[in-house]
């Protein structure tokens, strides 16, 4: 009975007056989702620490997503911050489901807004996205030559990704890195399924053009 997915309860710390909109949430089986929902409900009640717990849980993953869409560290950080601001402002609009997916969607929108703002202003191309934080896996069997190739491959692919169009990059990042399917990407970006497919396929061909002469890094 309690495990029934249809069972709807209000996940709240304190009982609320009856006249208030309870906006009850389906209790998920997934403990991570349940935890997220509890934090979100507490944040709705004005608990800033609960909201900041959600930020702590997802900020790494969201920054990693947004910085691939907006390959400028500062702009990406601003977009993520704006995404969290927007999430806080719109806590009351959450209608159930996955909190992570909801935050992803908000940050993807913030990143797309940043891309649009950048397109409106004549500006330089994105700076090369150096990732000093990434280090090849260390271990006894770590091959220095292979590690160097991996690092070079990451750098070349990052630069190529930064050089294709925003739309193509967004579609590829959401599909390959985040693992969304075509329909989810279409809904997120507000375009048709065919457009999403076209952007991914054309984006891959564009990547391959940009990396012509360096494809040996990606073989084997």
């Amino acid at each position: 009975m309690l495990d029934s997915p249809d069972l709807r309860i209000a996940v709240r710390r304190h009982p609320l007056p009856v006249e208030r909109d309870l906006r009850s949430t389906t209790v998920p089986d997934d403990p991570v989702q349940r935890r997220d929902l509890i934090l979100l409900e507490r944040a709705r009640d004005g608990d800033l620490d609960a909201f900041n717990d959600l930020v702590t849980l997802y900020q790494d993953q969201l920054y990693a997503l947004v910085v691939r869409m907006v390959p400028d560290r500062d702009q990406a950080a601003d977009a993520v911050q704006e995404g969290f601001f927007s999430a806080f402002r719109n806590l009351h609009t959450f209608r159930g489901g996955s909190v992570k997916a909801w935050l992803n969607r908000i940050c993807v929108n913030a990143a797309m807004d940043t891309q649009r703002a950048r397109r409106r202003r004549p500006s330089q191309p994105y700076p090369e996205l150096e990732d000093d934080s990434w280090q090849p896996p260390a271990g006894e069997d770590a091959d220095p030559e292979r590690s160097a190739v991996l690092a070079e491959r990451t750098r070349a692919l990052g630069a190529a990704l930064a050089s294709i169009t925003d739309d193509q990059r967004t579609a590829i990042v959401l599909y390959d890195i985040e693992g969304y399917d075509y329909a989810e990407i279409a809904e997120m970006t507000g375009v048709s399924l065919g457009t999403v497919k076209s952007r991914i396929h054309r984006g891959r061909l564009a990547l391959r053009d940009r990396l012509e002469g360096r494809m040996d890094l990606f073989r084997g």
Partner: protein, 252 residues
């Protein structure tokens, strides 16, 4: 059946189909064509392999470390919490608000249409150069009247009324107040800025001197009322649009 691809005409091959095949997204005819290209064209086969490698490498891209902490400070939270404006207009202009946009469109359309109806006929009636065909006979009649009045002494055989009317008109323009006294009520209504038009109407109809002017005055009043109401509707409609935009932009 498809024509068997030839390695020599790689430039004409459908590379998007190969890309779709690399993503396992090609279906039906496209999949058959792409598979045939990859099987028979060495360059297409290499492209396919490279696209698969690229997709794999993209999936394996490492995460990039964030440069700062994104947790909200209490002052951020204070600033972002819904204030009175956000509570009032929180859902205004959002996808959940299905009311304000049709209302704004309706009011703006009504306002524009009303303004056009209220202003255009007025412009056509009173504007000199912009006079429409409906006003042309009246203007022509007045011109004829004035001409007749001016040429009457010379011609000698002009109708008796023409010089009298012309004199009256001259007296009006000259500001001779005593000339108004013998005039009837209907004639008095002809006084004012629309006097010449009324006289023209009188000359045209031959009866009921004041009626045409009264109808012009009524039309004018009605048109101005319509213009005021339409202007108000237009302003309210445009304000609704502005409110929706403001709410979407700043309301969160």
């Amino acid at each position: 059946m498809h024509e068997q691809p030839n390695s020599s005409d790689h430039a004409r091959h459908d590379l998007l189909a190969v890309a779709a095949l690399a993503d396992r997204d090609a279906t039906g005819e496209e999949a058959v064509r792409a598979r045939a290209q990859v099987d028979t064209c060495a360059e297409c086969a290499m492209l396919h392999a490279e696209l698969v490698s690229l997709a794999t490498a993209t999936r394996q891209l490492p995460d990039i470390e964030r440069p700062r902490d994104f947790r909200l400070r209490p002052e951020d939270a204070q600033r972002l919490r819904p204030n009175r404006f956000r509570r009032l207009f929180g859902s205004f202009g959002t996808a959940r608000d299905g009311f304000s946009r049709p209302l704004a469109v309706g009011l703006t359309t009504l306002g524009l249409a009303g303004l056009m109806l209220g202003i255009l006929p007025g412009t056509l009636s009173f504007g000199g150069a912009a006079s429409g065909p409906a006003d042309a006979p009246a203007a022509a009649t007045m011109d004829q009247t004035l001409d007749a009045g001016a040429s009457a002494p010379a011609a000698g055989g002009a109708p008796e009324q023409a010089p009298e009317r012309t004199n009256r008109l001259e007296q009006h323009f000259a500001g001779d107040q005593s000339a108004l006294r013998p005039m009837g009520i209907g004639e008095l209504e002809a006084d004012g800025p629309a006097g010449p038009v009324a006289i023209a109407g009188e000359a045209q109809s031959g009866t009921g001197e004041g009626q045409s002017l009264t109808s012009v005055a009524d039309d004018s009043t009605g048109a101005s009322q319509l213009a005021v109401i339409s202007g108000t509707l237009l302003i309210v409609g445009l304000s609704l649009f502005a409110l929706r935009w403001t709410s979407r932009r700043f309301g969160g």
